[in-house]
């Protein structure tokens, strides 16, 4: 697995799929379910009266929920061509790097999401590392960056995720 393979992986950097729309709009029940799981009592998320008097004038979604709005439905499957990021992961699988773990997460928040908002998002492959020796085995770190916008086209936030695709013990 020499330089040519790494060049093939690097060709994915900067590739962005087509924009997708969140399956659900931002809504109070999903926000409340999130707060239940986290045990987050922040009144901006679930206390109508408090939120109405806040500078937002309404309930807002927890900013950390960003990625949740864009998760694919469990059923039926989304019909769209495979995203460059998925193609890159498949290429790594084919080369024997089957293992996958998330190693780094970063989120930036530009404006809040309100119930009724509908998120659209794009994501791109932003980096691939050369093969590295890790405690799990040799692998490549792959970083993907998501951009989230609301229905007015305003930037809501970004998230980057770095995963390690590794070959167990080798």
């Amino acid at each position: 697995m020499g330089l040519d393979f790494y060049e093939e992986l690097r060709a994915f950097i900067g590739q962005e799929g087509t924009p997708s729309m969140a399956v659900d709009e931002v809504c109070k029940p999903m926000i409340r379910h999130w707060c239940e799981a986290m045990q987050d009592g922040n009144p901006l998320y679930t206390d109508e009266e408090y939120a109405k008097k806040s500078k937002y004038g309404s309930i807002i979604a927890p900013p950390t929920m960003l990625l949740t709005w864009t998760m694919p439905p469990l059923w039926p499957p989304r019909e769209q061509p495979p995203h460059p990021f998925e193609q890159l992961l498949a290429r790594l699988d084919k080369a024997g790097f089957y293992g996958i773990i998330i190693t780094h997460v970063a989120q930036r928040y530009y404006r809040p999401l309100f119930p009724g908002d509908r998120v659209t998002f794009t994501y791109k492959v932003s980096d691939v590392s050369p093969v590295k020796k890790t405690s799990l085995g040799n692998g490549h770190f792959v970083t993907t960056t998501f951009l989230f916008k609301n229905q007015k086209g305003e930037m809501v936030g970004t998230q980057s995720l770095t995963v390690l695709k590794y070959r167990l013990g080798a």
């Binding site: 999903m30 379910h33 999130w34 239940e36 799981a37 986290m38 045990q39 987050d40 009592g41 922040n42 009144p43 901006l44 408090y50 806040s54 927890p62 900013p63 950390t64 929920m65 990625l67 949740t68 998760m71 469990l74 773990i101 998330i102 190693t103 780094h104 997460v105 970063a106 989120q107 930036r108 928040y109 995720l161």
Partner: protein, 143 residues
């Protein structure tokens, strides 16, 4: 319920955040995975997790994000506005683990109209560090 706000003036660089512990159960892991719409089997299916060599199901990255957000805004009060968070994930957090959350203010500064603090935090589990990272929060000011 009355909510207390932490003001920018009352924070010092080097100040420690309160230590918070949370018992992570099977329910915590699964509720977090489903609330974040993450149906990856390693976050809800014990048998599957064990079949791929893991000790058990483990907290997904979205739940860690949620717990980081809660840890930070529980400290600042609801007027603290998260600007960004980032963290490295190291050791998985399994059901039965006690998660111990600690943090420290590393920078206090202004940017335009915003009064900001940078915080470093670490979530520890018995087997090591689950994650450690940094966050930026805008705080209300008395000015």
């Amino acid at each position: 319920m009355a909510w207390k706000s932490l003001y920018w003036e009352d924070v010092q660089e080097g100040q420690e955040l309160p230590t918070v512990t949370r018992e992570i159960t099977v329910t915590t892991v699964i509720a977090g995975a489903i609330a974040s719409r993450d149906f990856t089997p390693v976050h809800h299916d014990r048998e599957f997790a064990r079949s791929v060599g893991l000790k058990d199901i483990f907290l997904n990255n979205a739940t860690i994000c949620g717990l980081v957000g809660k840890y930070l805004t529980d400290w600042t009060g609801p007027e603290g506005e998260l600007k960004e968070i980032s963290f490295r994930i190291m050791t998985p957090c399994f059901p039965g683990d006690t998660m111990t959350m600690t943090g420290k203010v590393v920078r206090k500064y202004t940017e335009g109209q915003q009064h900001l603090v940078d915080v470093e935090y670490e979530f520890a589990v018995p087997q090591g560090r689950n994650c450690s990272g940094r966050g930026t929060i805008a705080l209300p000011t008395r000015l």
